[in-house]
């Protein structure tokens, strides 16, 4: 406690001396980086202060209370940072970490492929060494914000004669090059928030390798572990912090671009928070059958939130994480489906109507045609159940027929 208070005093002190809402955004964030208050949990030598989670939260609280702006957080950049911090050379940390915190660079994640979704380790994008560069050929998909990213986290196959997990390598690739083509991918709900990325003889310099050659799987696991940590069902969708001063204009613009691909995510999650409101507005609340269905969904919704709070609180207390931590994603699929069902029941025939003709200006329709994504994106429910049953419950893996031989000999999809 006393340690926390001293930290809080220190950061308050520093903010009072340095925070200026009319300072250019990048300049302010550079100060945060230099002071170590921007990412106090990071190592001292890399813009941080080595503080434990509890104190990190205290610091962030103080920055929030002061109404000050923090380091850039949005998009994939924090996954990139966590991965580079753990696996990259000092050269790469030097090159990228600061500009990640200042928000000068945008990043994207180049993992999934048309032929390997659930089976990420089955990917077939190839990297072949030619002189001092790696020559990249293949296609990635489900890439968020690739169209305005400078760099990508790229997972490729560099050895086809070893088992699937042993032949992967992890690189940082520059997106704005001739060999990389980014195309928008339209979804069934009409949005195009993802990209397909085609790489044809794209070039990656040798020193952009992250971690050791052919040990890219371990590096990718770090990225994905951090991604999962972000998805505990409590994430807020920032609508741009308000505040007086020029810096907030810059911030708002940044958030707007960053949040653009995510604007349908609240609908994808089912909008359980709208159920009662909608039931009252439509009069469905008078229908006992509707009340039962709303109650069922509400029970799922609230107990999922409470489960997430338990997980988070255990984490803050530094207690060993219980199963509740791994269950958030699966729970959110159930909540979303239940809520979509309820919204259909509440809106009745109107649930057919979209755009300006539809309830809540078409957002109910958007819920109904977006919810199917929640049980697929970021790991299907089926994959989640595998992970839970094996890692949490300790049930045995199925006999594998793909890890016991050179990847070359493993049956795979014929990708167009």
């Amino acid at each position: 406690m006393s340690e926390e208070n001293s930290v809080r005093d220190e950061v308050r002190q520093w903010l009072s001396e340095n925070w200026d809402p009319d300072m250019p955004l990048v300049q302010w964030r550079n100060m945060l980086a230099d002071s170590g208050w921007g990412v106090p949990g990071w190592p001292k030598q890399w813009y941080g202060r080595n503080l434990p989670v509890a104190l990190v939260n205290a610091v962030q609280e103080e920055i929030l209370n002061a109404g000050a702006v923090g380091v850039a957080q949005s998009g994939v950049r924090m996954l990139a940072a966590a991965t580079l911090l753990e696996h990259a050379t000092d050269f790469l940390k030097q090159k990228f970490l600061r500009r990640i915190l200042t928000g000068e660079d945008n990043w994207c994640q180049l993992f999934s492929e048309p032929g390997s979704g659930s089976d990420l380790a089955g990917l077939t994008t190839r990297a072949d060494l030619q002189g001092d560069n790696w020559n990249i050929n293949g296609q990635k998909v489900w890439t968020t914000s690739a169209h305005h990213a400078q760099y990508g986290l790229l997972l490729t196959r560099t050895d086809w004669d070893v088992s699937k997990h042993q032949g992967l390598s992890y690189f940082v690739i520059e997106i704005g090059q001739v060999g990389v083509e980014v195309r928008p991918l339209r979804q069934m709900n009409g949005h195009a928030s993802f990209n397909e990325v085609f790489m044809t003889d794209a070039v990656v310099p040798k020193d952009m390798l992250v971690g050791k050659l052919n040990q890219g799987w371990a590096v990718a696991m770090t990225t994905l572990a951090n991604e999962r940590r972000g998805a505990d069902g409590l994430r807020q969708f920032s609508s741009g912090d308000a505040g007086e001063g020029s810096i907030f204009k810059e911030l708002e613009a940044e958030n707007k671009t960053a949040m653009e691909p995510y604007k349908w995510y609240p609908q994808r999650a089912g909008r359980a928070d709208w159920m009662l409101e909608r039931a009252k507005a439509t009069g469905a609340i008078e229908d006992p059958v509707a009340r039962q269905e709303i109650a069922r969904a509400l029970i799922l919704h609230k107990s999922s939130q409470w489960m997430a709070r338990r997980a988070r609180e255990a984490q803050l207390l530094g207690r060993p994480q219980g199963p509740e931590g791994s269950l958030g994603k699966l729970a959110s699929s159930n909540v979303a489906r239940a809520a979509a069902h309820v919204h259909t029941l509440i809106s009745g025939a109107d649930s057919m109507l979209s755009k300006e003709d539809g309830p809540v200006n078409g957002l109910i329709a958007e819920i109904l045609i977006s919810v199917p994504a929640v049980s697929i994106a970021g790991g299907t429910d089926e994959i989640q159940r595998n992970i839970i049953s094996e890692r949490v419950l300790g049930l045995p893996k199925e006999p594998r027929t793909d890890t016991d031989r050179p990847f070359r000999d493993v049956p795979r999809n014929i990708t167009s």
């Binding site: 009409g190 003709d357 027929t401 793909d402």
Partner: protein
């Protein structure tokens, strides 16, 4: 009660299926759903006159084929397989059935021949903005005015209302309530005071419109004030037809899911070899076969003139819509990310399933009807 199709009915099914596969590929569906009319006139003419499907259940004396609910069910099932974009459900089923049920002899002689050969299209304007199809939902007032009637009010969710030449309108006499005073009228699509607008819908393969009536002159269809039962029977038969359409869509989509599960490889195996997928598919097959069994039974019951058809129709409709939705959601899931893309056809079926779920009232309403009107089925 038959629990199988006759050889003639089997042949009829094969015949319709060939036509649909030739004329309603999903590329064609995608083209037509972008248009306002939502159908191809040449294909419609073929389907309506050459195949005689428009008059399938219209008695021969009115220029139809004189078949019944079972054949209509077969036709709709095959149309549902290919998501046919055409005013069949709206004109040939809903509106035509309303005229058959509510119309007088002379009404039928006057109206049905042109519908039977597909020369003209009709639409049934029943539900209103509240989105209820039963008589209780009919609030539009028909005011007597020297022999004719003047209609005022709004009709919504009108299937194929924009392309129809004539509109069958359900309204009620002043100061009436419930089944009392319910009447049917014929309104020409170009009648003064009639405003028509296309509605934006999730399912672009069905064209719904909203019609606003301001002092619109209308001619009575059948007996004034006594149309409630005819409209209910129209709904019963239309729900069975829609259930058949849903069953056809669910069956085809299920086949797509199985094909993909046999093709797609992950972890060095086709995903169809994983129990997670296999068992899901087994459950889906059961759902589809149950929904089929209900739809087939309902069509037979309609053909036999079952006394508790309303309960049976509601059973079939609720069963089919729950099944179609489960199959559609599961098919997206089995496809994974690709199943959520616009290029993949699954979403076309998913959206058809969503619109079919609430069209002609939702499953909760039909489950309630089922219990309210349940007789003793064997």
């Amino acid at each position: 009660m038959r629990f199988s199709f006759t050889d003639e009915q089997q042949q009829f099914r094969d015949f319709v299926r060939k036509f649909m596969e030739a004329n309603s590929a999903t590329t064609e569906v995608r083209r037509l759903m972008q248009t306002d009319d939502g159908y191809d006139k040449a294909v419609w003419q073929n389907l309506a006159s050459s195949l005689g499907l428009a008059g399938l259940h219209i008695p021969e004396q009115y220029g139809g084929q004189g078949f019944g609910p079972v054949e209509v069910g077969i036709a709709l099932e095959e149309m549902g397989r290919t998501l046919l974009c055409a005013p069949y459900l709206g004109s040939s089923v809903l509106a035509t059935t309303a005229i058959l049920q509510a119309g007088s002899e002379s009404d039928k002689e006057k109206l049905l021949p042109d519908l039977a050969n597909g020369e003209r299209l009709a639409a049934l304007a029943l539900a209103e903005p509240k989105g209820l199809w039963g008589s209780s939902g009919i609030e539009m007032i028909a005011t007597p005015d020297q022999g004719r009637f003047l209609l005022n009010g709004v009709k919504s969710f009108v299937l194929d209302g924009l392309v129809a030449d004539l509109i069958v309108v359900a309204a009620r006499l002043p100061n009436s309530s419930g089944d009392e005073g319910i009447s049917c009228f014929i309104v020409r699509s170009d009648a003064p005071g009639l405003d028509k607008r296309l509605l934006s819908t999730i399912d672009e393969t069905r064209k719904l419109s909203i019609l606003t009536f301001t002092q619109v002159e209308a001619e009575p269809l059948g007996e004034i004030g006594g149309a409630a039962e005819a409209l209910q029977q129209t709904l019963n038969l239309s729900c069975i037809a829609l259930a058949s359409e849903m069953v056809g869509g669910a069956q085809k989509l299920f086949e797509n899911a199985i094909d993909y599960a046999k093709l797609r490889v992950q972890f060095g195996r086709t995903i169809g070899s994983f129990q997670a997928i296999k068992h899901k598919c087994a459950d889906l097959l059961l759902d589809v076969e149950l929904a089929k069994s209900a739809a087939y039974y309902a069509a037979e019951a309609a053909a036999d003139g079952a006394h508790d058809l309303r309960a049976i129709a509601s059973l079939a409709k609720a069963c089919a819509s729950d099944t179609y939705l489960r199959v559609a959601a599961a098919t997206i899931q089995i496809h994974g990310g690709i199943g959520f893309t616009w290029e993949n056809d699954t979403h076309l079926y998913f959206k058809r399933a969503k619109s079919s779920e609430v069209l002609l009232d939702g499953p909760e309403c039909h489950r309630e009807n089922l219990i309210q009107h349940w007789g003793q089925l064997q």
